[in-house]
């Protein structure tokens, strides 16, 4: 990963002591995380351990009760603030349920934000849409509607839609867990390519093979805390905590 080595130490996402509560329930309990430019981080852990919530906090979809989050040096900010507008330029998010806009075709799904947010001309936006669709291997689906695509294709369009806005970091929340194994492979392939091209990525995933192969850093979450973290090979070779050992054992 030459890109990662060259620009090491430039922190893209910085999460410090974050506390997130839903009513009486504390879901994130002092979480910290540093992601450097070009790094691929895999967040793993049991269901309910707070992985999605952490990602949603970074994306500004949840407000935190304590601690701080900065992306590219800017705070996450409140909805409608200038800081939030900056965050939207820096962060792309892909969801488990794709969340494509069902009434718009693939091309319009991608160009919508380009024309409305980035104020690009129709021509520019269309060129960009063609470009990112080629990157995810779906050039021929440009005029299709979401319902005409398989789950894997929809998810690749969702990735392309995010990518078109040229974010500094991409967040993926279990993007393959609604998919059959074959379709999972095509989506993971796209993500792996992105990682190799130097995209900074944080990915919540159940795919241990993908985590081992692609991630630079693994974060194991447990009970709302970062229970164990470190360089992928190291962490998997020498799990320190019983919980992670058990988790790795159960995921095999």
């Amino acid at each position: 990963m030459p890109a990662a080595l060259e620009q090491a130490n430039e922190s893209v996402v910085s999460v410090k002591d974050v506390i997130k509560e839903f009513g009486p329930l504390r879901v994130l309990d002092g979480v910290g995380l540093e992601v450097e430019r070009g790094q691929t981080v895999a967040i793993v852990g049991r269901s309910g351990s707070g992985k999605s919530t952490l990602l949603r906090c970074i994306a500004g979809l949840e407000t935190v009760q304590g601690g701080s989050i900065t992306v590219c040096g800017h705070p996450v900010g409140r909805p409608g603030s200038a800081a939030r507008a900056q965050l939207r330029r820096d962060v792309g998010m892909v969801f488990q349920s794709y969340n494509l806009f069902p009434h718009l075709n693939v091309e319009r799904n991608i160009t919508l934000a380009l024309t409305l947010v980035k104020k690009e001309s129709k021509g520019e936006a269309k060129r960009r849409a063609a470009e990112v669709l080629a990157m995810v291997g779906l050039t021929d689906k440009i005029a299709s509607y979401p319902e005409q695509l398989s789950g894997g294709q929809q998810q690749r369009v969702a990735i392309a839609r995010s990518l078109a806005l040229q974010p500094q970091v991409m967040l993926f929340d279990e993007v393959t867990s609604a998919l059959d194994p074959e379709l999972t492979a095509e989506v993971l392939g796209v993500m792996e390519n992105l990682a190799h091209q130097g995209m900074t990525m944080i990915s919540v995933t159940h795919e241990m093979g993908f985590a081992r192969r692609v991630a630079d850093v693994v974060v194991f979450m447990h009970q709302g805390k970062v229970w164990e973290t470190g360089p992928t090979a190291e962490v998997f070779a020498n799990p320190r905590t019983a919980e992670f050992k058990q988790f790795v054992g159960s995921e095999l």
């Binding site: 939207r88 962060v91 494509l100 806009f101 009434h103 409305l116 947010v117 319902e147 806005l165």
Partner: protein, 227 residues
């Protein structure tokens, strides 16, 4: 039965019926369009607004839906003018019909807007769309598509209900009928004619809604599947 039907008056009076029908169309197309606008705004207020806005929109809907259109029309035409706000019969008709259509549209569009999942709003947020852009480009069209049959039915109901504006002498189709029957004494025949015209208008409005749907909902036109 010795009654002889006599439609001879038509030869002379048909232009009156045409003029009445044309006014009915003008009044109701305007009221349906304005009512849709009012209703959509109130529906947005009911779903996304703060507690005060939600209450206001809810109160408006309940008051209008639980009182007769006839009385609403009287309040707008006679009531407002007694308070010093003199409106013509036609303007009063459009105002009352718009308020009425707006209340029903609020409930219909609310159901549509509530059917848009929160994840759609989150996706739009993550792409950087403002709230207004999200409503305009992500929420409204699919919401409308989901409830479009109800909107169309409500539009036809409103067109038919506009006959009530004859009671404040807006010279629309029903008022024309009242006038012609009092001139000719062929009451039954006059109302048969007008009933047929209203039936034709109902069909025309349904056709119109269908055509507008084709233009608005491109995905549906291409694929033919429900959203």
């Amino acid at each position: 039965m010795s009654y002889k039907f006599d439609f001879e008056f038509l030869a002379e009076r048909w232009p009156d019926f045409v003029a009445g029908a044309w006014l009915t169309i003008q009044l109701t197309v305007l009221s349906i369009a304005l009512g849709f606008l009012v209703g959509t705004l109130c529906a947005l207020a009911r779903v996304y607004g703060g507690p005060v806005l939600r209450r206001l929109a809810g109160g408006y809907v309940e008051i209008i839906r639980n009182t007769p259109l006839l009385i609403q029309i009287f309040i707008v035409y006679f009531g407002l003018s007694s308070l010093g706000l003199k409106l013509s019969a036609e303007v009063s008709a459009v105002l009352a019909l718009t308020i009425n259509m707006g209340a029903y549209t609020t409930e219909i569009m609310r159901a549509g807007i509530e059917s848009i999942q929160r994840t759609q709003l989150e996706a739009a947020d993550c792409l950087g769309l403002t709230r207004l852009q999200t409503i305009l480009h992500v929420v409204l069209l699919p919401a409308m598509e989901r409830v479009y049959p109800s909107l169309g039915s409500q539009g036809v109901l409103l067109m038919l209900a506009s006959s009530i504006t004859s009671q404040i002498s807006a010279e629309e189709l029903t008022a024309t009928a009242n006038l012609v029957q009092s001139d000719t004494y062929r009451s039954f025949e006059v109302y048969v004619i007008v009933a047929v015209v209203y039936l034709a208008l109902s069909a025309l409005y349904r056709l119109g809604f269908w055509a507008i749907g084709l233009i608005l909902f491109e995905r549906r036109r291409r694929l033919g599947t429900p959203l």
